[in-house]
Amino acid sequence: MSDTKKTHPLVDCTEPNLLEETFNYDLPPLIRFDGPVMETIDGQPVEFDPAALRTRPIVITDTTFRDGQQARPPYSLEQMVHIYDLLSKLGGPNGVIRQTEFFLYTQNDRATLDRCRELGHRYPECTGWIRAVPGDFRLVKEAELKESGMLTSCSDYHIFQKLKFKSRRQCMDSYCEVVDAAFEAGVRPRCHLEDITRADIEGFVLPFVERLMRMSEQVPEELSVKIRLCDTMGFGVSFPGVELPRSIPKLIYKLNREVGVPSERLEWHGHNDFHKVHTNAAAAWLYGCDAANTTLFGFGERTGNPPLEGAVIEYIALKGDLCGIRTEVITELADYMRSIGLPIPDHYPLVGKAFNTTRAGIHAGGLRQDERIYNIFDTTKLLGRPPRVALTDKSGADGVALWVNEFFGLEGKDRISKIKVHKVARWVNDQYEKDGRMTAISDEELEAQVKELMPEYWAKYKG
């Protein structure tokens, strides 16, 4: 401890250093790296270069219609087509949202797929999802899809306890038979290594994937197997030093560098059972997986999947550029999902009703002086959501002034000082002090008070 202790003299200044290289208010705060990431694998130090993320062709893939839909009543055909259209708009012309997957089992599944493709969007590319049954590739072929995911569960929990194989060998042979069927059908198989974070990596996963890579050498490049690492129970851990099978760095290293699965054919699919879901997906990008699989607003089986909108913001933060992404569509998607009955908690990041709403007066005071103090980035520009205050007993006159100025749409020197809102501030204060109120004050109530107590301003700006 004493060897690393240093003194840190104050760097005095009279002008603030707002660290705008990182906190450029026009973008989500950038994630900048100043060195390699180290991990010890099989006793040897291994370097990863996170700065390469800026140039690596990382992408976001989507499973809103598959895993996302498993967690809720089915979407209607029209709803799915509209969501697909918005996903395309959000991901932009560069296909940052590269693929989305569809069930193919019912007539409705196939009609939905057709209608989405009729929109003519290049991205997200439509892929399928089937069981590891050779006959299912007929569905993929009939749907004229180039790629389909297939279940290739790889933990002994699944191999023996669920699927009742008599041995790992029998299981592997069975999976490979389905992969062969995919090749024969001219469909690229994407093997979903279910429950990989609870699997015997050296004993089953690596030998299986090695065999898949050997099989891929026998077919054209566009048919070569993709690997989806499915952290089915959310057991994956992103930080270094963790042992397999829970270590995301080690899992990806083994598949990518030891077995030789190229990064563009590796995809991470997480679950949120331990609140690690988004960070794990971002870590997968960092350690060599090019694709992070997500769902809108994280809806998915049980605790859900990496939230797509979170991955979009992370993508921009890593790339340092919007890359053609239309971030404002995130808000449009949230509004649409709410309109069809999908509950989004008020405090949910980026789209919850209160995500950039401050209640404390001292925070409202900061916002009033410079919105950057308590707003994560220019949410007005990027999400169409100006920072707001919700008024409670903690909001103070600063909160009231901020609400009133936002309500009237006043900026700069036109803004009304808190002295001029004193009557409304008094009314708010009395609600709690005198009337014993326990709830936040609604916008409608405040609007009525402003009309009554600030008639001259009402006439000027709303009259």
């Binding site: 007066g361 103070g396 006159a397 000082s417 808190k418 002295i419 001029k420 809102v421 004193h422 501030a425 008094r426 204060n429």
Partner: protein, 84 residues
């Protein structure tokens, strides 16, 4: 005609609902007279109304005592051509 100090004390007594006799030039609005956050804003607003002036918000809210308020208001009235 009442002096600036008498008018400041009268407004203070009305806003804080205390007896004017309890207020002197050295009384601090917050610590001695118990002015809370919203009352501080109300005091500034009522001073503006009483004297027909506009005060800089931050400067006005930084004033701590009745005597300082008298001085600040007198200066502001002079600057804004208001006779007191």
């Amino acid at each position: 005609m009442p002096t600036v100090e008498e008018r400041v004390i009268a407004v203070t007594a009305r806003v804080l609902q205390i007896d004017p006799s309890e207020i002197g030039p050295n009384s601090a609005f917050s610590t001695d007279l118990g002015a809370e956050s919203v009352q501080s804003i109300e005091l500034v607003a009522m001073f503006e109304e009483e004297f027909g002036i506009e005060m800089d918000e931050d400067a006005a809210l930084a004033v701590q005592s009745v005597g300082d308020a008298v001085e600040f208001i007198t200066k502001t009235c002079k600057e804004q051509g208001v006779e007191v």
